[in-house]
Amino acid sequence: MSAQSNSFMPPLSPMLPRALFQSEHEDFRRSVRRFIEEEVTPHHARWEDQQHVDRDIWNKAGEMGLLCLTVPEEFGGIGADRRYSVVVLEEIMYAGASGLGWAVHSDIVAPYLINYGTQDQKQTWLPKLVSGEAVGAIAMTEPGTGSDLQAMKTTVVEDGDDYLLNGSKIFITNGYLSDLIIVAARLGDGPKGAKGISLFLVEADREGVEKAKPLKKVGMKAQDTCELYFNNVRIPKENVLGGPDYLGQGFVMLMKELAWERLIISVLSVAGAESALAHTLDYVRGRKAFGQAIAEFQNTRFKLAEMRSEIGIGQSYVDRSLELVLERKLSPEAAAAGKYWCSDMMNRVIDECVQLHGGYGWMWEYPVARAWADARVMRIFGGTNEIMKELIARSL
């Protein structure tokens, strides 16, 4: 049995036709796929060892037009709709290229600027995010603050024309390579609870911003997730995201795109499961046990059928959610349900895929082993699945 050296495996043909995607999306998909094959896959194992991608992959992706697809043309983007974002996210998962932190950069950070940035903020940052000249991160989570944002301890206090930022943030995706960080902090003398939170644009090269080494993680090993420390970081008042009117509005701003942000995880989950299944199909056809391919055992057949069905169900939910996102009608509860179910499903599927691989599934050189490690966090980040269930339960 030789190791599967090429970690890319095209997904199976879709079950129900995906009515949302048209030929221009498929053309785009091909170019994303080629880019990842040529520029990402050959380096990914090395990036895992160094715990971050090479910085220039951001610039290369920017040159190819793969970053921040929804940024309007006046700010250097192409003003595409979110189907294009979904294509990129799916292709990353199909290739197992979990080191690419583009989802946060392109589909979370950039939309904050698009939705709330002042003209000046947009002009300064959006073109750089589009080109990859700047890497974006968002810093909300703290050592003692996850989904319960009101417990946030990072503060800003007024100091003349500036603010002084103090505190620390943890588990920050793209943190190590970041150039622009959207930091959630509370006004030192402001109200407690969720109401006192504001968002600030913090340049990573400001004095007092300190990046820790990338954290060692179970999976997504090429992803530069790290802690950030802010020691008396002086930030001008015009760096409040959206300008002074938005001071104290951080919580509302964080909520605005929540449905979309959760859908991102559903998209990644379904695509990741699909990719693991494709690898597994390939494996069970080739591997023999007791004189027959393990694909011929009834247990294998039934497990694969269950997985294929669940993936198809997740896919149709994702596509319907995306349709609603395009109409700006996806409810937070529906997105929460998708995030919880799809990420759980992905974990069930990939665990079963490892099982069908036997001992090989435990070996890092096999894509399914990496997928297994990468998958675990899907049930945690973006709001744990327990938080999702609580939100759904409230709506009942």
Binding site: L12, M15, L16, P17, L281, R285, A295, R301, F302, L304, A305, E306, R308, S309, E310, G312, I313, G314, S316, Y317, D319, R320, S321, L324, K329, L330, S331, A334, A337, G338, Y340, W341, E386, M388, K389, E390, L391, I392, A393, L396
Partner: protein, 379 residues
């Protein structure tokens, strides 16, 4: 999640259907459960409303509406009124279409008006004691006697078996070819056609399920349905839709189980607080709600594709598998949340639990569904 909107006239149709099931069906279900059978009257009333065979041509009394969503509305409302024992859909959308697709003009003229009015009730007889999903194992046979066919054999687990006036019977017609089957239209009163017991079942108590016996039944040649020797393929023809029908019932039935449980857990006080405040309750219901939403979304997409005539056997198998498994998990968890009350017949969940179990078995077991999906990816 928001379903794709139904057309406004469909919403009006839903109101009409809801009134019908609430007023004309629901009040009788207790009596029917005890009797083990619904009144024939129920079919006639459904016929009066125009709910039977809406897809059929207007010249026979149908409405010429093939959009599956209308059927889906009827199925949903037939579930929501509380008892799933009135097998109108089996008559109307599962069996009657065989006549619509394979019947001759003469047969349609002869049978459709009574089928569409509800005067005559339909059953289809495929399953035998030794032949379920593997219908090639069928033992019932018919011999060509020149001016008629001579039918011998027996069938079991036949839905509407006691009420049925017209039964489409699958029989082998060439001993050398296991797939050479033919469908025969057997009518109430034909000599040698007898019914066995109304079988006692775990659930679906109001539904009459019976054995049927055929002893030297002379079936006129004019009662051959479709092509001689092609019965197997005729039966296969509608399987995707049959599974879609099944799933279309399972999803609202699971939803109904969650709905009664929501009410229950809000009222039930435990350790000084409503059961609905306990985190386990909240998470279990959130999980079920999510699974049902997933199933609903996939189902509605399947319906959309089916309306375009493109629903594949694999997709139908997937939704049948998933919807029935979700339904099974839902009634089990919901009963658990009811505690001891859930075990008592007076609580709806108790019956829902029993009524559910067959759905993972009929219209092709979950295992057969998996085999169909597996073939599509492996073979």
């Amino acid at each position: 999640m928001q379903r794709k909107p139904f057309d406004p006239e469909m919403e009006l149709f839903r109101d009409q259907a809801r009134r019908f099931f609430q007023n004309e069906i629901r009040p009788h279900s207790e009596k029917w459960r005890e009797a083990g059978i619904v009144d024939r009257e129920a079919f006639l009333k459904a016929g009066e409303q125009g709910f039977l065979c809406m897809w059929a041509d207007e010249k026979y009394g149908g409405a010429g509406i093939s959009d599956f969503r209308y059927e889906q509305i009827l199925i949903e409302e037939n579930v929501y009124h509380g008892d799933p024992g009135f097998f109108m859909t089996v008559h109307s959308r599962l069996i009657a279409p065989y006549l619509g697709t394979f019947g001759t003009e003469e047969q349609k003229d002869r049978f459709f008006p009574d089928i569409i009015s509800g005067k005559k009730i339909l059953a289809v007889a495929m399953t035998e004691p030794g032949a379920g999903s593997d219908i090639a194992g069928t033992k019932t046979r018919a011999e060509d006697k020149g001016d008629h066919w001579l039918l011998n054999g027996s069938k079991t687990y036949i839905s509407n078996g006691i009420l049925a006036d017209i039964v489409f019977v699958a029989a082998k017609t060439d001993p050398d070819k296991p797939h050479a089957m033919t469908l025969f239209i057997v009518e109430r009163g034909m000599e040698g056609f007898e019914r066995g017991r109304n079988l006692k079942k775990m659930g679906l108590k109001a539904q009459d399920t019976a054995e049927l016996f055929f002893h030297n039944v002379k079936v006129p040649k004019s009662n051959v349905l479709g092509t001689v020797g092609k019965g197997f393929y005729h039966l296969m023809h509608a399987l995707a839709e049959e599974r879609l029908l099944s799933a279309a019932g399972n999803v609202p039935a699971a939803r109904a189980a969650v709905n009664v449980t929501r009410e229950f857990v809000r009222d039930r006080i435990l350790f000084g607080q409503p059961l609905s405040k306990m985190q386990n309750t909240r998470f279990k219901l959130a999980e079920l709600d999510t699974e049902i939403e997933m199933a609903q979304c996939f189902l509605d997409r399947c319906v959309e594709v089916h309306n375009e005539g493109k629903l594949s056997a694999e997709d139908a198998a997937r939704i049948k598998l998933f919807a029935s498994e979700v339904y099974g998990r839902a009634v089990d968890e919901c009963l658990q949340l009811h505690g001891g009350a859930g075990y008592m017949d007076e609580y709806p969940i108790c019956r829902m639990y029993q009524d559910e179990r067959i759905n993972r078995i009929f219209a092709g077991t979950s295992e057969i569904m998996k085999e169909i999906v597996a073939r599509s990816i492996l073979d």
